[in-house]
Amino acid sequence: MATDEELLARSGTDASAFEPLVERHSRALHGYFARRAPGAADDLLAEAWLRAYAGRGTYDAARGPVRAWLFGVARNVLAAHWRGQERPAAAVLAGEASSDPWHAVDRRLDAAAVAPLMRRTLAELPSVERELLLLIAWEQLSPTEAAAVVGVPAGTARSRLHRARTRLRAALGPSAPLSLTGDLV
């Protein structure tokens, strides 16, 4: 089976080679959008693939795996989406930056009964740290891949991720209430 990189390279002269990429990665990209813009995930998925197709000639395999590159495209599409949205009144009042999907993410965490303390701690993280953390927790990217998606050097990403983890440990540490499974309640 051809690798993503081989398919993307071949798609420059054979457009049909791009199609397996859509089939392979749509689930992951759709999940990325569904977690951050649940009402628009289908549309954003199509937008992301069109952008990726249009920009396929600029991909350089030496820059990293296709998967991380696709999430970078998706991140740009998501930011454009949120900039163009009417934001919830609560987000406006809170002064949230217009391209930050945090409000939607927080609603998801609330619905999933994630502890208010964790939500508050995540909300207080700098947005880049929060984004890196969620790319690893939800999209299962490596720190280096997440760094590439967000656009910071890998060393910076590792440093910020360590900082985020320390914050979470400090806020949610042994004194925080735990369930019988040891998970935060």
């Binding site: 199609e19 998925l45 991909y59 927790a137 280096t144 979470l168």
Partner: protein
């Protein structure tokens, strides 16, 4: 990356509640229709590029996409159907980024402007940063020290960890932004930033407020001072903004871990204390130091005391470079 870093990376989600956080990310897979629509859109774009017939006809609620047009303005202009011309533009489009615009603006992206600006000003195409990073390991008192060199340009960031291979770090071919709070600033926007501290702060912070804005500003300024080719006037203004962050404390005549003299700006952020040491002659960053703010901070199996070192990034050298190794 060292073996120790590998281990640390694997443990990044080692905090109470991580399992529930991960579980909260579970979503249903896309419907077959959604994937089919994406595939059809790509096929139509490919077909239009080859002149093989009509472009995609989207349903009313499914707006078309043109990568050469920013989504917002494009949505205003083309609310219903993607024309064949628009789809051809997608396929032929050279620009690929948030600043992409229609015909008259083609070539005016920050990346495109870069080459002209470079010729005009003679500035080097890369900004090279060599760092030494130290971080307290979570599992033992063993020190974890590493070296990294990063070359940053308008369109990519590449780096080398220790003696390892040079790798591309970033993917955004249309420009690599500096992220300050939640705002993105591109290389070619640096010389357009205001140098009045109040205006600069407003530009950098945007709409963010509170402690998150203060810490985001602190870290963003560190990124600009260390990793960007900002001009001296802008550097001086960034330093001024840094010292005016609520809660920031300035200490002159301090030394970094290599013995270089500078001015420290401290900011308390949650359970951490951030310290950025700056050479106030050049306004270049010398070192970023993170320490425990109070006694009792948990760090893996350790319980730290106020002032214990958590992480330190020492900027061994920063400056313009005319060349960067190819990965």
């Amino acid at each position: 990356m060292t073996g120790q870093q590998d281990m640390n990376d694997r443990n990044l989600l080692d905090f109470p509640g991580a399992r529930r956080l991960k579980a909260a990310g579970k979503v249903a897979p896309p419907s077959a229709d959604a994937v089919a629509a994406a595939l059809a859109a790509v096929r139509s774009a490919a077909g239009a590029a080859e002149g093989n017939g009509p472009a995609v006809e989207y349903e009313l609620e499914r707006e078309p996409v043109a990568a050469v047009v920013p989504l917002r303005s494009w949505r205003r202009r083309l609310p219903v159907l993607a024309s064949a011309a628009a789809v051809v533009a997608v396929v032929a489009g050279v620009a690929f980024g948030p600043w992409s615009d229609s015909g008259e603006a083609r070539g005016s992206s920050p990346a495109a402007q870069g080459s002209a600006a470079q010729e005009r000003t003679g500035t080097a195409p890369y900004w090279k940063v060599q760092t030494r990073q130290w971080s307290r390991t979570s599992e033992s008192r063993q020190k974890d020290e590493s070296y990294e060199t990063v070359w940053r340009s308008r369109s990519d960031t590449r780096g080398q960890s220790g003696d390892g291979p040079v790798q591309y770090y970033t993917q955004d071919v249309a420009g690599v932004p500096y992220t300050i709070c939640n705002n993105r600033i591109y290389w070619d926007q640096l010389d357009k930033l205001p140098t009045d501290p109040a205006e600069l702060r407003a530009r950098l912070v945007g709409k963010e407020t509170g402690e998150e804005a203060d810490e985001g500003l602190f870290l963003g300024i560190e990124e600009l001072l260390a990793g960007s080719p900002a001009e001296p006037r802008l550097r001086a203004a960034l330093f001024e903004v840094l010292t005016r962050i609520p809660g920031a404390r300035v200490t002159e005549h301090v030394k970094d871990s290599t013995g270089r003299a500078g001015t420290a700006v401290d900011l308390d952020a949650g359970t951490w204390r951030e310290r950025l040491i700056i050479d106030t002659g050049t306004f270049h960053a010398l070192e970023l130091v993170n320490t425990a703010r109070n006694d009792g901070l948990k760090w893996g199996k350790q319980e730290l005391r106020a002032g214990d070192l958590l992480m330190r990034t020492t900027y061994l050298s920063v400056g313009p470079a005319w060349e960067a190794p190819r990965p």
